[in-house]
Symmetry: C2
Subunit: 525 residues, 2 copies
């Protein structure tokens, strides 16, 4: 395969040329016919609608040529087949394998990694079933009613967003087993508040750290163990670990059990591994977690299609590259019209910004073009009453990524002024897409809307475990394709290291930098 | 007073010239001496530290000249004195008056507005006391234990962020009276989940809508009334309203009581009015709410100082303008190292983006320069394990606004590896400031940190009601000063109207736009 910096491709030059001579106007482009036609099935009943994107067939043909030139599908297949695609850390990239096998059997040190993931999935399912049946109980013999995940970054954001996304669904479907809570921040107020809120006797803690050395997570583990001991409970009967087999947390009698991942699963890609699996299976049962994996697997499979018009994450990725590199937009807003997705934007923020917030290529050359954008968002309609003012009338346009569903999760609704709330929610979503695209001229300049602000929409019938899995995989795969276009390594995160190292120096009392010491003094250290 | 577009000022040209010839390097600028010196007291024990901002005395002198030329302090005084500064809507701007009188008595239709706000504050305090003493109870005679705010946008984000910011503090100080919950989204799953979680018999709902016509809030009111009736409860004994005196919710026997604001308090500036006052007084007692107001008032007073080096929000505003208009940064990250401030960035997102996300001047001319930036953020250290990768090593620098405290709120902590978690939190904060500013060169380009990424820090001993009030007012005043520099109206939000109008058309069955109808069909309408 060829690894070429984006600005060295023939497609780059053609796109640059196209951007120079072609000015799209979404307002005039958008029609009912286009809304019908510009749709790409995603997976698990979801559809990617790109009618309100500023794109014509000419642009799509150039983007298709780019996909071919940068060998996006071939590189994705290389990931599936277990090639070392996290080049900086010399690791395979195997999160797709946690939800199913799409490539060759992946061997590492004579071990079939797919088998390993499947075995861990079976083990955690057995564990969750034993908790639900009451076979596994707390140290005073009480059944567990609450599970608390202790983890940070990828061990927190994804699993937390997925839990919140399915809480109401599970309530409605009678699939709610344990309630879940999360401790992440090293701020002691975080752990203290959660510990005070739960009944420790009935709580199982899921300690998640791949390395087993994460500063925040270990501090919070000891915080919680201390509380358990003070309550007269045996911590080893209240903790399970999710970690790698080489970590200090592995095969450790201090835990009820340990479940394993490996270095081929990046933190931000770990929701479909044991990192998300234990807490989600405890909360909703292993069958629900398997439905979630099946939705993600279906989306992974659809992402193999070489036709960009039929491959939702590929098209989404390429349109994003167009907006970032040729229209110059430095950010993207993610706007789910679903309260259940309240923390999904925070997860996407990590997924995207940690994957593609890079300034060197996979070979270490400085990039001469912009890479990953800033990602932010809140659920609609809440955001409409907050930052949408800037989105509609700010000086700089922001690309918009909407998500919406036909049905609510609980179906518990009220009829007001002739419509139920779910219909109002959906009406606001379609209205916003049009308002952004078409704007409205007004003689009062303050009430004038320029329009021409483009958006995409992912929609489906209802947010379920399967559609949530597909939604998650869509964005993972979109970001992966963009990383390939930009010729960077989306799978490491060296940018988080320097701060960690300096913080340890401060704590050791020898920072080596007088300015750093001066800041530490301000903060009472 | 003079109202001049920014690019027409003499200061603009000088700053442009300065930006052209002066390249600051934070890495070489930053020293222990600078950390000691570049500090400006804010209020209520908070300090604004700008040592890691790329600014020298030459720049500060130019910014001071800008402040004078655009008459920033004089315009702030005009607000305090009750001039009509929300020009589009022809309204006064009086949120400062909710926390104390700094200007002349403000009269409107022969009414002293300051007296009106003070009277409402007294009334809501009496109401909260009566709830706490058990004089006011639910319809079955049970004391209230939970208060649920129903509101959206400014009636939700600010009060919710403030409640979360003080929950742990109040727990520790024995000031926790009622727990609070919030319903905002028109997504019926939001109201349904909250209604299912609370004991309706012991719950008082605080319905907040200035106009009394907010679609989401009215739908959620009826949702909740329906639940109360079905539970055999009398809704009029479980609801209070916060609204304007001319709204349908005013003087209405359907509520236990109603508390009033007026058109001079914008939603996003309403946390210190009855909009925040009722729920915060119910949750923590009126005395705590008054401490919060006192902190905000102290910050408002400090914001009158004409010396930019001694006026934290003024300096913060001007440095932000420098970064936005002359360094070209389109966003700002807000990074509080405090779990209690978990939703403070979401509030700031509204405050800033809804206030200054405008493309026309207060006189309606199109702006030839960038106005308000995109604001996003999450608490540290969580963010470090998420989007900081892009902040450290992305292709585009992002200005950073840190917040931190010496002490935690609860003081419930654990000693691990020689330090407590609060010290680890603070060490990470000081380490990050240095890492961003100075970077680190490495022969491995992947591990190279460019540095030169500037930040500011607001710090204090502990997050208390008073320091929270000061923090809130700091950002309100910063944003106000920036609006004056950009010569726009920070106090209206016409950009939210078009979507509302179109959504109503969709719901009426006559959108008038085939493309909109096509989108509505996708979404099941």
């Amino acid at each position: 395969m060829n690894y070429v910096n984006f600005d060295k491709t023939a497609a780059y030059k053609k796109l640059l040329d196209y951007a120079g001579k072609k000015k799209f106007d979404v307002a005039s482009l958008l029609s009912a016919d286009r809304v019908e036609k510009c749709q790409t099935p995603l997976a698990a009943g979801l559809t990617y609608s790109w009618a309100a994107k500023a794109a014509d067939d000419g642009l799509l043909d150039l983007l298709a040529a780019l996909a071919e030139e940068q060998e996006l599908i071939a590189k994705y297949k290389a990931i599936l087949d277990g090639e070392v695609m996290n080049t900086g850390e010399k690791r395979k990239v195997l999160h797709h394998l946690t939800r199913g096998q799409l490539g060759k059997a992946v061997l590492h040190e004579n071990k079939d990694i797919g088998d390993f993931y499947r075995k861990e999935l079976d083990r955690l399912a057995t564990f969750a079933d034993a908790v639900h049946s009451g076979k596994i109980r707390g140290s005073t013999g009480k059944a567990f009613t609450t599970a608390v995940q202790i983890g940070i970054g990828g061990s927190d954001l994804g699993p937390r967003a997925m839990y919140l996304a399915l809480e109401n669904w599970a309530e409605k479907e009678g699939k709610r087993k344990l309630r879940a809570r999360f401790i992440s921040n090293v701020d002691p107020d975080d752990a203290s508040a959660v510990a005070a809120e739960v009944n420790l006797e009935e709580t199982v803690f899921v300690l998640v750290s791949k390395s087993g050395t994460t500063q925040e997570t270990l501090a919070n583990e000891l915080f919680v163990k201390d509380k358990l001991k003070k309550a007269g409970l045996d911590p080893s009967k209240h903790l399970v670990a999710v970690t790698s087999e080489t970590s200090p947390l592995a095969h450790n009698p201090d835990y009820l059990d340990s479940f394993y991942i490996d270095d081929f699963i990046g933190g931000r890609y770990s929701s479909t591994s044991a990192v998300g699996g234990v807490i989600l299976s405890l909360a909703f049962g292993p069958a629900v977690f398997r439905e979630f994996l099946a939705g993600a697997h279906e989306a992974d499979k659809a992402a193999l299609c070489p036709d960009i018009r039929k491959n939702a994450p590929l098209l989404d990725a390429l349109l994003g590259v167009w907006e970032r590199n040729f229209l110059g937009f430095p950010y993207t807003a993610v706007l789910p019209y679903s309260q259940a997705l309240s923390r999904f934007p925070a997860h996407l923020q990590q997924l995207d910004m940690e994957s593609n917030g890079k300034r060197v290529s996979r070979n270490g050359e400085a990039l001469n073009y912009a890479s990953g954008p800033v990602v932010f968002g809140e659920p609609g309609t809440n955001g409409q009453h907050s930052f949408y003012q800037l989105l509609h009338q700010g000086t700089d346009p922001v690309p918009l990524q909407f998500v919406g569903f036909i049905e609510s999760q609980k179906g518990d609704d009220v009829l007001v002024d002739g419509s139920v709330s779910q219909t109002k929610l959906a009406a606001n979503l379609s209205a916003q897409i049009l308002a952004f695209a078409k704007g409205k001229s007004d003689t009062d300049p303050n009430k004038n809307f320029p329009g021409g602000r483009s958006s995409s929409l992912i929609y489906g019938r209802r947010l379920t475990p399967a559609s949530l899995g597909a939604l998650l995989a869509h964005f993972e795969n979109k970001i992966m394709f963009q990383g390939f276009v930009w010729n960077l390594n989306s799978f490491d995160q060296e940018g988080v290291q320097l701060g960690k190292v300096l913080a340890k120096k401060v704590l050791s009392g020898n920072s080596g930098d007088p300015a750093l010491d001066a800041y530490s003094r301000l903060l009472g250290i």
